[in-house]
Amino acid sequence: MAAINFIQQVSKARNGLGSFVLPCKKILITYCDFGGSSVGMRDFLRSRLKGFASQYPEIEFQVLEKPGFHPVIKGFYTNEKSKQICCRKWNADVIENKLKLLINSTGSKLKKPKQNVISLNSSVRGIWSPFHVDPSQRYKI
């Protein structure tokens, strides 16, 4: 009995088809307790962070004190990439908007899209072939 040769295939991940997994899995917030550039960040951490983080239960929020440095927010994504934004001298509103920017991203590098529709499926109507054209429409030399 001949062995069946199979072509191994890896499943192609299409987020959203079955279930949607939020690409941003962790956000690391670093701040300084003394520095003036961290004033807005401290205000955000005191008053806004708890409410904001409760809106995104899938994301792990880690707050780290890093004395002597500007406040930074860093997002970690499922494609093993990270994105960081320095929040020096920004107020709590701006920091919240930048956090939303991190959450809305997948972590991949910014690309200019060549096509508006990206598809893994082959074309439904098929590629045109001159041999499969109706005889009345054939090209006559």
Binding site: R14, G16, L17, L22, P57, T106, L110, S119, R125
Partner: protein, 191 residues
């Protein structure tokens, strides 16, 4: 005003048209249960949304006109394996199959990522051998096309040179346009 763009630009009329291409449906998954946005996600609010005059103004694709059209016999299409559809988002056509990603050149303000959308402005549904095409838009109960917002990113930053002919002064503007990526999760005939 002449502007030499160092990349591809997009017409400004795009964003000004009414949002009539899609209606919103919330995904009542654990993911969205704690989310409280300015846009309510419950069904009553969505029905109220649909009846707002803004969406059903003199557009040729309003639901009233669509419901009056008879759906023809779609059984040949029904037995086909692969289907495609041409949906219009703000009157821009996108030829789409299930599982595709659409990249829209704007930031969708009314929905967050993970939210489900249903597309109502559909021009064509077809397969390899059959096509169902209505220029004004298919009847709303013929096909169901749903999507989910994957991501809201931006294009890479480029510098746009704004100048006029025979004027040496050139103004440089940094431009970073928005993008919204939507995955088509469902494309099926309701026949």
């Amino acid at each position: 005003m002449l502007s030499r763009i160092c990349g591809v630009g997009f017409k400004t009329g795009f964003r000004s048209s009414f949002i009539k291409a899609y209606t919103l449906q919330s995904r009542n998954t654990i993911f969205r249960s704690l989310h409280s946005s300015h846009f309510a996600h419950n069904q009553e609010h969505l029905d109220a949304e649909r009846s707002r005059p803004l969406k059903e103004s003199n557009s040729p694709n309003s639901e009233k006109i669509n419901e009056a059209v008879q759906i023809p016999d779609l059984t040949p299409l029904k037995y086909e394996q692969n289907l495609y559809a041409t949906i219009n988002i703000h009157n821009r056509p996108f030829l789409v199959t299930k599982g595709d990603i659409i990249i829209l050149p704007f930031r969708m303000k009314h929905a967050d990522i993970g939210d489900a959308l249903q597309f109502t402005d559909i021009t064509t549904v077809g397969s390899r051998n059959y096509t169902y095409h209505v220029k004004e838009g298919l009847p709303s109960d013929a096909v169901t096309i749903k999507g989910i917002i994957l991501e809201k990113t931006k294009k890479p930053m480029y510098v746009k040179e704004i100048t006029k002919k025979r004027n040496r002064r050139t103004r440089h503007v940094q431009v970073k346009h928005d993008l919204t990526k939507i995955r088509i999760t469902e494309l099926k005939l309701n026949v």
